[in-house]
Assembly symmetry: C3
């Protein structure tokens, strides 16, 4: 790192976590925690399907009407229930991938999430998605940042050295 | 914004719109229109499946032979017919998601597209995809930019503060 | 290009190749080879499902136990066997897309990969994924870079003008 870099604010990374799929939670959490551990100022903006993993595991279903409840049943809330983007095979793909990860000492996404929080990663839920899908603040994990909108996420990305849509 | 920033050209954002799925059209259009409304110089490069939404709704099918016509039947052209990336459930997922959006005053992607155009967002169809899938200029919405190739998109991204692949 | 730019090192692009799907291999390889042909210093970091295409075509299956072997059977290794992300239709979608590409003189991803290598694109397999899925160095194509981790990929992205997650 050059002297000039050291004088500047830490570099920023912003990830738009759109998918909520188990296999995409890993790169999101691995890149987020690794960047934070290396001194970067990291923000993860959880939007659309990506918001579901932030719901507490004990919440069975989210939503304010039949349609939003059905969306939540098809995308079960909470990290534990996140599905693979492919090869879900009735839940077996998810179970298998978690087994393979554990065997190789790769932490599950929910643990990487907690480590990321400890390392100071900003976790921003998307305000519009919360309203759209009827996910209430009290249904979500503790320690999240203020719900944010697209303009706030864009302002952060325009200052970020790395911006990724996952 | 610092004085130095104000003296510079506006910041740029480039989105590669690859998927064409209804649920990914929303972030593309929301980020695009919001960035443009905040003074950024935005370009969306529509490629591969992402080109289909640009086809006019009244065009029933695109393509120059059996194979390209079948691809277009499986990816119906036009914003109105764009499917969800998951939970399509024979079209019901799409219908449901549009209902939920309307209930929450979230504009459909085709309206956000028009607003983005009014705000000066550059809409670039990918020339190679047009040839590959047999989508003719006259089959596409009005007001698009010149069809562009990968080199043009890359030159734009290398000047962009934010580049996303969606 | 300004004088200042000419004095600097070449601009960098880093692509995280996560999906391994045939339709996403095209943008990865087209953007990679085009950027390299235009003088950029390009790195592609192959991770998760994205690692499978790097396996040699003659390797029938990878993995060290029943689960990792099943994952490899569902994601057949090698460029030739890569599936479409949608419309796979029992392999017919893949076959059709390759036919359409050939008809339009769009090179298949494996040829674009070789051209990219000739143009000096760095091909980095993800070390963690290799261990996770049991893909051995001798099972992979020649000419790859040293297996790398997330920290190495992040350091590269923080110096890159363009970083994409595909």
């Amino acid at each position: 790192m050059s002297e000039e870099d050291q004088a500047r604010d830490p570099e920023m990374m912003t990830i738009i976590a759109f998918s909520g799929d188990l296999d995409k939670l890993w790169p999101t959490m691995i890149l987020g925690s690794t960047a934070a551990a290396n001194g970067m100022d990291v923000t993860i903006f959880y939007t659309f399907w990506g918001l579901f993993p932030l719901v507490k595991d004990e919440v069975r279903v989210t939503g304010y009407d039949a349609m939003t409840k059905m969306l939540a049943m098809k995308n079960p809330p909470g990290f534990q229930k996140a599905k693979l983007s492919k090869m879900n095979m009735g839940g077996m793909g998810r179970w298998m991938m978690r087994k393979v990860a554990a065997k190789n000492n790769l932490m599950p996404p929910e643990e990487l999430f907690e480590i990321s929080q400890d390392l100071g990663v900003n976790m921003w839920p998307c305000l519009m998605t919360m309203e759209l899908l009827g996910i209430k603040p009290e249904q979500m994990r503790p320690g999240l940042g203020e719900p944010a909108g697209a303009a706030t996420a864009l302002a952060r990305m325009s200052k970020s050295q790395i911006s990724l849509f996952i």
